[in-house]
């Protein structure tokens, strides 16, 4: 179980949100919605532990993540609004390195399967990522989710620059993760077509 307690945060000297208390139970998804500049990204980065809150706390299984530190990092997969991939490396190299750094399985076959699952065909796998389109780069970044065995996923605008096909692959993947008892927090401004009652919304306003 994943909780925020009376969380408040600011960016620079601007207060973004305050007193946010939400609970994400296993098998549920929290959609963080709000217009641009409402603090969605900061909220997600705070949940990762990258940003420290002005007040309140974030609890993983009842323990403060600031005490858990690396133990908490080992529970989550974060896809930020930056892709976190190297332009000079191929998609295969990118995924292999990031999976092995995360401690996930990173054999050639598994990486290839993950890339195919996001709809990247084989010839693309061995090209330098720099020559791919924005949407393809995003897919490489999201392919990490097919390798991830972590229970908590934190996704910042995962659907941005994805086409309809990739959107549906991702939706299916999220659905499968939730059915496995996983937890997802996603910042988005579009509806997520997961047919369950396990979605809750958090609206941030400016």
């Amino acid at each position: 179980m994943f909780q925020t307690v009376a969380l408040s945060g600011s960016r620079g000297e601007r207060q973004l949100f305050s007193d946010v208390s939400v609970t994400v139970k296993p098998g549920t998804l929290l959609a963080v919605v709000g217009e641009n500049g409402s603090g969605k990204t900061s909220f997600l980065r705070m949940l990762c532990g990258l940003l420290s809150p002005d007040g309140g706390a974030i609890l993983w299984q009842g323990k403060d993540i600031r005490q858990l530190k690396e133990l908490y990092s080992a529970q989550l997969t974060y896809v930020g609004h930056l892709n976190g991939i190297k332009d000079e490396l191929t998609p295969v190299e990118n995924l292999t390195v990031s999976a092995s750094l995360a401690g996930d399985e990173s054999s050639g076959a598994i990486v290839q399967k993950a890339l195919e699952a996001v709809g990247l065909v084989r010839p693309v796998h061995r090209l330098p990522t720099r020559v791919l389109s924005q949407g393809q780069k995003r897919r490489v970044s999201l392919a990490r989710l097919w390798l991830s065995t972590r229970p908590l996923w934190l996704l910042d605008e995962p659907f941005a620059s994805l086409d309809a096909a990739a959107t549906s692959y991702l939706t299916q993947r999220l659905h499968a993760h939730l059915n496995n008892g996983g937890m997802v927090v996603v910042a988005t401004h579009q509806e997520i077509a997961i047919p369950t009652d396990s979605i809750q919304h958090l609206r941030l306003t400016r």
């Binding site: 600011s10 620079g12 000297e13 601007r14 207060q15 973004l16 949100f17 305050s18 007193d19 946010v20 208390s21 939400v22 709000g34 420290s52 403060d64 600031r66 005490q67 009652d197 979605i199 809750q200 919304h201 958090l202 609206r203 941030l204 306003t205 400016r206």
Partner: protein, 253 residues
């Protein structure tokens, strides 16, 4: 580095510090004026002319206190910076910020008066003596900290980054001092040393100590005054006092 402990500074908010500092400044300023006045009187009219150095030695009445303050203030600044990082306390970052320019000024004065003293005594404006060289590097470090702060727009990051630099620098200062001394003894050229100064008359020591306390009080007064500036300048940022809009409550469906 995150402030997980109790926030001790919660009750010493900047808003409360502002009037407190305002009340303290006149006292320290008066003490500074008085002590410096007495120090100058003793230094120029009571202390005798030095047998070997003549009246040039009177420069040490400003030189030694300035040099002492330059190092002392650096350590104090680093302590405030460390406290700020450890306790996540904004007022201590502000103190560190307020101290830096005064420290840099005293470092410059120590170097300037040092070379004024060196010319008649050693016959050279500048000698690569261990103390002079490490004082020069101390000035570079002060300038680095001030520059780093001024090139970061985000206040929180500026506070913390310059605090880290101040702490790294405080480790470096003794290392530099000993390395330069080591280096200097190998190059036999600079055989003069400040430590070889002849024993001083009691009145000379008195004048120097009184001046030192005067400079100390001056530093406190001017640092508190700058702290007040920092408080007011930061207050202009919108996050103080007025709260931005709250998010809607969580709606589940």
């Amino acid at each position: 580095m995150s402030g997980t402990g109790i926030n001790w500074f919660k009750y010493s908010s900047p808003q409360a510090l502002y009037p407190l500092a305002g009340r303290m400044i006149p006292w320290f300023a008066a003490l500074a004026l008085g002590l410096i006045g007495v120090g100058l009187y003793v230094g120029f009219f009571v202390a005798p002319t030095d047998v070997t150095q003549g009246d040039a030695y009177r420069i040490i009445f400003v030189h030694v206190p300035a040099a002492w303050m330059s190092m002392f203030l650096y350590v104090i600044m680093a302590i405030w910076a460390g406290l700020g990082l450890g306790l996540n306390a904004r007022p201590s970052f502000m103190m560190a910020q307020a101290i830096a320019p005064t420290g840099a000024m005293f470092t410059f004065l120590a170097l300037f008066t040092g070379s004024m003293w060196g010319k008649p005594t050693w016959g050279a404006w500048w000698v690569w003596d261990a103390r002079l060289t490490s004082e020069l590097i101390l000035l570079f470090q002060y300038i680095g900290i001030i520059l780093l702060r001024s090139s970061i727009d985000d206040l929180r990051r500026a506070d913390r980054a310059s605090a880290v630099l101040a702490l790294v620098g405080v480790i470096n200062v003794p290392i530099i001092y000993f390395s330069v001394r080591w280096w200097n003894t190998l190059h036999q050229g600079a055989s003069v040393s400040i430590t070889a100064a002849p024993t001083m008359a009691g009145t000379m020591v008195t004048a120097m100590l009184v001046m030192m306390f005067g400079f100390w009080m001056y530093s406190i007064a001017v640092t508190l005054a700058r702290m007040r500036c920092v408080i007011v300048e930061r207050e202009r940022h919108p996050s103080w006092g007025k709260q931005a809009s709250m998010p809607d409550a969580v709606e589940a469906r």
